[in-house]
Structure formats: structure tokens, C-alpha cells
Symmetry: C2
Subunit: 256 residues, 2 copies
């Protein structure tokens, strides 16, 4: 298929590369910044543009891959009422595109995109949503060409998936950062934790997380919890996170 | 070396197996419950006992592997003043063993132990602490026989390591459980998140977590954050965790 990317950030970059590798053609890359547009377009053998007037009608699919707050503005300015236009947001509804085109959809790849790291798109679930069945089939074909897992979700289900991903990925990664800070404060190196982090994620590839929960809170070991709280006496914001998650664990397993 | 295990839980089980595989002899397994003692002892070709009188003086090292709250009681009852006695706790100081023996230490393997899952001890850091240099050398040899990473930490550093591990492992795993619950409530399956969890942990094997943080909070995307908060309007305890960690991420990256 011929694809034009509207956006030049992490999602546009990884998605563009994955699509191109599977034989799709990236026609243009649009970005507000012409430098960013050209930089990504060059990698994808496409044309970089920064005005809506310069967007060609040649693509089969126009993929908006920008931050959620900017989707509406791009939809307003999108020049073609009859072209298939999709966004890549987990939390934004399909309706944000309604004023832009009669052919709209969502193409949400569930992954954490960092520019510095290559990704295997094959194992990334892609949640699609479409205005009608014909569009759904187009998006399903496109998704299946790069990923082994395509699911069709309405906006509410997609939002649940995105929120769950924020906990499982974004928040977990921030807990790694907090742990890194705790170690640094004691002159210790983050590398000590790497095998533990790997094992923790690896465990839940074959178990449900509640089956393999460990640590003081799941044992309701108040002695250890109190010692840890004491450890944070000069870091009230960490003490609060520690207390809140520990209490949530205690409640979770007492109910279970 | 000849080793006696005091305890029969996850840590005793995994540690006993790893030591035996490397050629050490497990002499006895003590547990308050004779059934548990015999069950683990049978796996380790050792004798299972449940009284302190039955503990033989034949071992070179006596390893207490029980919950932190129970260490003190076992130390009080330990029958040999001249035998090397260690505990395996991250947060308990060395001094809890002082009344028990003149030869004491700590042998803390940094990992999440679940009985249902085998472990590769080689990549598990072991933090040791010892009353004197002779004991330190014994423990260093023992640790090096099963792990590639042995570190000598005082009780304060070991506590920092344990607290950091609670964030990076126990709390992360609980966030996976929360995510699982969010998906279940929408009729979705946890398997959708598994590649994302794997990738999140995999990223920090070669980067620091703050280098690869993604999600709405690090972008200070209040529109998405507000939609997610709205998603939790009937789950105040999850809303509170969502708000607190998101705010901590925002503060963290504004400072940085």
C-alpha cells in the first residue's frame, strides 16, 4: 500500500520503518517542522513536507502519528474528504476524525517506542477500529502485514488497553527509575537490578502476575514495611508511593 | 561445603537446589513443620528435622531462610555458639544474629523466588556481609560458587538494594496485576500486554530507565491523563495510584 505519515516522532519513525520493510511505500512524511519531516522522509525514501497544501492525494492510507492533543488540529486541516485517515492513539476516540474525512479509522500499535531502540513489530498487538467493514478490512490487512496480533476494538476497549499499558509499561519503567535513584543515593549501580527486572517480566510471560507476586506486602510483613518506610523518612514523595502500592497489594491479596 | 538450611520456603528451596547442583552437601533442612522440612529435605537428599535439638553440628554453614519476622526467634534457639550462622534477608541487620553465635554473616540473593519456576542463580547478585574477614572469605567463596556477581555490602547498603528491588520487582509485578484487572473488566486478555512487558524490561538491560521513559506523564499530556483519570471514576484506589505515579513522573522529568 501507499502510505503518508502525518507526524515524525517515535511512533511515526518505528511504524514507517516497519511498513517499509514489509514492502509498503511511504509517499510523504508531513511534520510541522520541515527539518523533522525531511529527516524521517530521507530514512524512508519519501518526500518531507510541512504544509497541508503540499500533501499529495496519492496515498491509500494517511496515518496521523502525533501526540493526542495535536490530532484534532491535523484532522481539521486534512485536505481530502474521501481519503482513508487513521490515528494511532490509544485513548482518543474515532470521532475526533469525523469532520476530516468520510473514511476514518484507528491503528493503535501497543508498544513503547524509543527512537534509540529497534523494535520487532511482529509481536506487537495492533488494535484497529473502523467506520465501516470495508475500512476495517483494509486496516486489518495493513496490520497483519507487520504484526501477528491484530484485534478489532471499539474506543472504550482500546482505552482500557491503553490505561492497562500505562500501568504495565510506563509506570513500571518509572519504578525502575525510582529504584535507580535509590541505588545511586547509596553509591550502588543500577546493573545490580537488571537480572531481577528481566526475571520479573519473564515470569509473567507464562504466569499471571498475581500467581507470582513476591515481597513484603504480599506477606503482609509489617516489620519490613515499617523499616522501608523509615528508610524514606527524608523522601516523603517516595514514602507515599511505597505506602500506597504496599497497601494496595495487601488489600488485593486479602480479598483474593 | 556442608550446609544446613533453616527454613523450607521459596528462598530455602531455590538456594538449596542451586548449592546442591554446584556440589555442596545439604546436611539437614529444619522447619517448624516437619512435613515441610521432610518435603524439601527429600528433594535435597538431606534429613528433615523440626526441633533445634535435632540439628547436627556437622555443617560448615547454617543458612536461615525464613521471613524477616522469624529470624530473631531462630537466632535465639540456635544451639551452636561457634558455628557460622547467616541469614538471607535484605532488610534485617547483621546484629539480629549477635546473640546466637560468634561467627555470623548475611547471604542475600537478590531475586524474586516463586516455587513454580526454576531460576538461573548464575545471574543473581548475592550481597554478603560478615562479622570478620575470615567469614567474609568463606561467604564469598560460597556465593561465587553459584553466582557470577558477589558484592560485599553493609546492612545499610543492603537495605537500599532491597528497597530498590521492591520498587523494581514487587511493585512492578503488582502493576502488571492491576493492568490484568483493568483488561479483565473490559473482557480483554492479559496476553495482549505480555510483549509490552517483555520489551519494557528488555529496554533497561542496555539503557537507564529515565532514558527510555514513555507515556502521557513524561510528555505532561494532561488531556490523556484526564481521560485516564475519568476512566477510573468508580475505582478511587486505582485513580489515586494513577495520579500519584503520573505526578511523580511529571516532577521527575521537569527537574531533570
Amino acid at each position: 500500500m501507499k502510505i503518508t505519515l502525518l507526524g515524525s516522532g517515535n511512533v511515526a519513525t518505528h511504524l514507517g520503518k516497519a511498513l517499509q520493510e514489509k514492502g509498503h511505500t511511504i509517499v510523504q512524511v508531513w511534520s510541522r517542522s520541515i527539518e523533522n519531516a525531511i529527516e524521517l522522509a530521507t530514512q524512508l525514501l519519501a518526500e518531507g513536507v510541512n504544509t497541508f497544501e503540499a500533501i499529495l492525494p496519492d496515498a491509500d492510507v494517511y496515518i496521523i502519528a502525533v501526540s493526542d492533543t495535536a490530532i484534532g488540529d491535523i484532522a481539521k486541516a486534512f485536505p481530502f474528504r474521501d481519503k482513508l485517515l487513521v490515528h494511532t492513539s490509544g485513548t482518543t476516540g474515532l470521532e475526533v476524525l469525523e469532520s476530516a474525512s468520510e473514511r476514518i479509522g484507528v491503528f493503535y500499535p501497543l508498544q513503547t517506542f524509543s527512537k534509540q531502540r529497534p523494535l520487532n513489530f511482529k509481536i506487537i498487538p495492533i488494535a484497529i477500529e473502523a467506520r465501516d467493514i470495508q475500512i476495517e478490512n483494509v486496516l486489518r490487512d495493513l496490520a497483519s502485514s507487520i504484526s501477528e496480533t491484530t484485534v478489532v476494538f471499539d474506543s472504550q476497549k482500546r482505552k482500557a488497553l491503553h490505561v492497562a499499558a500505562v500501568f504495565a509499561c510506563n509506570f513500571s519503567n518509572h519504578l525502575y527509575s525510582i529504584a535507580d535513584g535509590i541505588l545511586k543515593d547509596s553509591g550502588l549501580d543500577f546493573s545490580l537490578l537488571r537480572p531481577l527486572i528481566e526475571e520479573t517480566a519473564s515470569k509473567v510471560q507464562s504466569f499471571f502476575p498475581h500467581e507470582v507476586q513476591t515481597g513484603p506486602a504480599v506477606r503482609n510483613d509489617q516489620m519490613t514495611i515499617n523499616k522501608h518506610v523509615e528508610f524514606f523518612k527524608e523522601r516523603p514523595e517516595l514514602e507515599e508511593i511505597y505506602r500506597l502500592i504496599s497497601q494496595n497489594i495487601i488489600n488485593f491479596y486479602q480479598k483474593a
